[in-house]
Structure formats: structure tokens, C-alpha cells
Amino acid sequence: MSGRALYVDGVSVVFDGFRALNNLSFIIEPGELRAVIGPNGAGKTTMMDVITGKTKPTAGIVKFGDVDLTRLDEPRIATLGIGRKFQKPTVFDALTVFENLELALKAVRGPIACWKWKLAAEQRDRIEAVLREIGLSERGQDLAGLLSHGQRQWLEIGMLLMQEPELLLVDEPVAGMTDQETEHTAALLARIAGQRSVVVVEHDLEFVRALNCKVTVMCEGSVLSEGSIDHVQNDARVIEVYLGR
């Protein structure tokens, strides 16, 4: 795969005088799986907001390959190949599970094109493959509103897969999941990574360990420490602000 790297360099976001991000810098290599941890309010979600165009940075550079993301809006960044799973799962309750995936499927987006669009056989196969992958094969025709919390999280991940993004941003995928569901999700994410870059924000350290990847620790809007899970767990500053509590 070609693959583009994500550069975040010196990014600051200020909300009414409050620095949610403070000179944040990191690089995600093509195909890399990266975990981001940090205490509540560290700015992890805000970091994703900046990358996906929801929030414009007050200062700094955000680049995907050589494209400047700070100049683009959400739909353009999404079509560029950056997908996002939200902390609070947001699927379309009034549509079926299948239709949710179909909406996310990498295909036409404009109004008239959508009106004329027909689902091709191989696209149907792809949706069904993703349904199997997220363990919802039996639920395709059910309304998404009827799913359990864990199933909604998976549907969101499934929607990410349908977009075939180069870079996935996944915000707290296992919050509120049972141990078994968590295990399943870790396996799913590990399988996805390698073909694409994935950034996972998570509080659950067991889960992060299972991901077996480089970890970035954020605190008060900047990077506090970076390295293997063992490295950051033994970093004195990390222990002080986060793990030690």
C-alpha cells in the first residue's frame, strides 16, 4: 500500500482562554497502530477533532501526506481517507444495521448520484463480509436502535471499515464493554491495522497492552511520554500524573 503519514506539529487549541491542546506534536507512520492514553481532559478527543476538521487549531500544522488538513472541512477530510469512531457511539437508529454500513460504504456521496445509485453485487458482498467481521450477520435487517451498547460500538467500527480509510481514529472503543467483547475488539483492531494506520484512544491499560504497539501518553494537551507500554508504565512522570493515582 502507498500510505501517507500523519504529521501533527506544534498544535494548540484554545477554548475561551483554556488550552485544550498545548504545542502537541507526533507522527503516525503509514500502517502504524498507535495507542493514546491520558487522564480525563488531557485533550485526546480534541486531538481527533482537530485531525478530522471539527475544530480548527489556534496554532500549528496538521498534515496527512502533503495535504494540509487545517484548510479542509469534515466531509473533505473523510473522503481523503480519514475515518473516525466517536467516543459516544453514534449510529443511525432509524436505519437498519445494513443501511448504516451502506451509508458508510465508500461510494458516491452527492445528492443526485445517491438518488440514482444502486448497490452492486460485490458491494453487497463487502457489506456482508463486514457484518460477519463485526459479528452482526444475524442483525443486518434490524434497526440499529435495537442494538446493545457493545454491538453499537462494533457497528461503528464496521462503518469505519466500509469507508476503507487510510487512517482510522478510534476513540475509546471498549468503554462499557464486557471482557469478552473487549477481547474481540482488540483482535478486530489488530487485524485492521497493518493495512491502514490506526490511532486508538483508550483508558483500559489491559486493552492497550493487548494491542501491543507504541503508546503515546497525553497530559494537559501535550505529549508526556512515548514508547512501548513497558517504557511508559515505568516513566516517572507518567506514574505521577496518571498511573500512580
Binding site: K54, A78, T90
Partner: protein, 343 residues
């Protein structure tokens, strides 16, 4: 099944003017009144397309209806020709009365039927595009958008009341003589207008259904329930909202254009905010987000209104209010929800 029921009802309705023409017990009044309801049904359908699917609650759709009506009215005025009371060969009576020497530029072309019909589509469409673009781009949604559209129709009403607009002031247009060479006050003209309205309603219903069943329909539901989320999936929702809003305004414009020759008059009161609110009540009553429900709502509420205004004119508005409250409390999915539950 559903398609067959709709086709059956449409055929039954199409019989009404035929029975009237052949003198088989359907009065002129019934043909005119039901013809009007058909136009209202198109208006309701257009509102449902924007509100029921994309969640754009316009409280000013009556303005698009009235603009379509005015375009048709201008054509009908031009066709009067020298038959007006002042006998001027070109200028409509109100212009002669106000001392106009020549036809204002924006009246040019309206003597042509195709041009006037095009304007009945394009003027509401262009206004919807402008208002929609400005509002959606600034992320004006929900109640604010509703208030904005309500203000729009109110402002237009005030503007059209003015004599110097060159559009007939508070009297509007009336005393129409003919359309497409056919004298208006004849059973045949009434029948043809009725059928044209019925055909337009069926056409709009078909169009709406085709959108609702397509991926665009599901994108619009996404806009209604989670616009921000949809944007992260790569949909530039501004485009979809504009598309459906403009299309909906054009449908309302057609409805107005068909309405005016049937009722024989168009004046600024057609822009009054109450009209737009009433049309939203039809949709809510019938069941929003179903298209067929909007049509059903327009028919039942207006049938109720026609009946009540003759037997109890004083209480009609209270009944309307009571019906609306009852439906919102007891039937959140409207009449159509009730029918579907029964089945």
C-alpha cells in the same frame, strides 16, 4: 399492494370530473373543492419531503406555493388582453388604474404559457436555493430555521401588499378569462385542471417515493438524525439539504400554479404565515416521513374544514387546534401510523 391502493384511489378521484361532465350527480362545487385539495396535497407532500426526511421544518412553504400561484396569475392576467374593464390592449386593469404607461420588465414573457410555468418552478426554486444556502451554510437548523422561513413568508406578504410592486397590491389578480385557449368558467376547464392537479400529485408522489427509497432517502434520514456524524462519513450535507429544499419548493410552486386557475384569484393573503402553519398541521396529522401520510392529512383536514366551516363556522379553528393536540399526544405517527397498526 400499497401501489395498487394508491392507483385505485387516484382512478376513483379521476372519475369525479367525468361524472360532473356527463351530468351524473357530481356538482361543480365538488370538482372545484376536491381540485383545490389536490393542490394542498402536493403542498403537504413537498413539506413532508423536507421535514419528514431531512428534518428541515419549513414554516414558510406557503410562500413557495404563493409564488407559483403568482407566476400563473401573471400569465392569466396577460391572457385577459383587451377584455379588461379599461379595455387596454396590453396592460392589466390595475396597472391602467395606477397610471402605468408600459408593462414593467418583470412581466415580460408571461404571455407565454411555457415561460410562466417555468417561472412557477424557477422562482420558488431560486428563492429556496438562496435562503437555503445562506441558512444551511451558517448551520442554522431546527427552531431557528423554522422561524426564519416563517419570517420570510411574512416579509413577502408585506411586500406583495404594496401597490408599487407592480403585482396588483392587496387585491392581487382575479377576473381571469381563459387558459390555453379554454374559457375557465366551464365544466371542461374545471375537469382538465382537476386532472392536471391529480397527475401532478401522482407525479410528485412518485418522485418523492423514488427519493425516499433510494440511498438519498437514507442520507436525508441521516441528516435529520445525525447531521454531524454524516459529515464525518464524507457527506457534504449542505448539498443534500439544498437539493431537497429546492425540489420541495418547486413542488410547492407547481401546487400554487395549479391552484390559482381553480380558485380564480391570488392575492397577498396567500403568503400569510397561518397558511404555512396549517399545511404543516396536515402533514403532522397524516403522519410525517411517509409521503402518503401527508397527502392523507391534507385531504382529511381540509375535508373536515370544508364540512365544519359550513355547519359550524365559529368553532372550526378550535376544532383544528384540538385535533392537532390530540394527534400529537395520541398518534405520534399520525393517521398513517394508526392505519398501519391496524393492518
Amino acid at each position: 399492494m400499497r401501489r395498487l391502493i394508491i392507483l385505485g384511489i387516484a382512478l376513483l378521484l379521476a372519475l369525479l370530473p367525468a361524472l360532473n361532465l356527463t351530468g351524473l350527480g357530481i356538482s361543480d362545487f365538488v370538482v372545484t373543492v376536491v381540485g383545490k385539495w389536490l393542490c394542498y396535497a402536493i403542498l403537504a407532500l413537498s413539506i413532508d419531503l423536507a421535514w419528514g426526511y431531512a428534518g428541515i421544518l419549513s414554516l414558510g412553504h406557503g410562500a413557495f406555493f404563493a409564488l407559483g400561484g403568482y407566476a400563473m396569475g401573471m400569465h392569466l392576467m396577460r391572457l385577459i388582453g383587451p377584455r379588461g374593464s379599461y379595455g387596454h390592449p396590453v396592460l392589466p386593469d390595475f396597472m391602467v388604474f395606477l397610471g402605468y404607461q408600459e408593462l414593467p420588465w418583470f412581466w415580460w414573457g408571461f404571455q407565454s404559457f411555457p415561460f410562466a410555468m417555468l417561472m412557477a418552478l424557477l422562482i420558488p426554486g431560486a428563492l429556496a436555493f438562496l435562503v437555503g444556502y445562506l441558512a444551511f451554510r451558517s448551520r442554522i437548523t431546527g427552531v431557528y430555521l423554522s422561524i426564519l422561513t416563517q419570517a420570510l413568508t411574512y416579509a413577502l406578504m408585506l411586500a406583495f401588499f404594496r401597490n408599487d410592486m407592480g403585482l396588483g397590491g392587496n387585491n392581487g389578480f382575479t377576473d381571469f378569462k381563459e387558459l390555453l385557449g379554454l374559457p375557465l368558467n366551464t365544466p371542461l376547464a374545471r375537469a382538465l385542471l382537476f386532472w392536471a392537479s391529480l397527475a401532478a400529485l401522482c407525479g410528485c408522489l412518485w418522485l418523492g417515493t423514488s427519493i425516499a427509497r433510494s440511498k438519498l432517502g437514507r442520507v436525508l434520514v441521516g441528516v435529520r438524525d445525525g447531521e454531524a456524524r454524516l459529515r464525518f462519513l464524507g457527506y457534504d450535507t449542505l448539498q443534500h439539504k439544498l437539493f431537497v429544499f429546492v425540489l420541495s419548493a418547486m413542488m410547492a410552486g407547481i401546487a400554487g400554479a395549479l391552484y390559482v386557475p381553480q380558485v380564480g384569484i391570488i392575492n397577498p393573503s396567500e403568503f400569510s404565515p397561518g397558511n404555512s402553519l396549517e399545511a404543516v398541521v396536515w402533514v403532522a396529522f397524516g403522519g410525517r416521513g411517509t409521503l402518503v401520510g401527508a397527502v392523507l392529512g391534507a385531504f382529511t383536514v381540509n375535508a373536515l374544514k370544508t364540512w365544519l366551516t359550513s355547519v359550524a363556522p365559529d368553532v372550526w379553528l378550535f376544532v383544528l387546534g384540538a385535533v392537532f393536540v390530540a394527534v400529537t399526544l395520541l398518534l405520534p405517527r399520525g393517521l398513517i401510523g394508526l392505519l398501519e397498526k391496524r393492518r
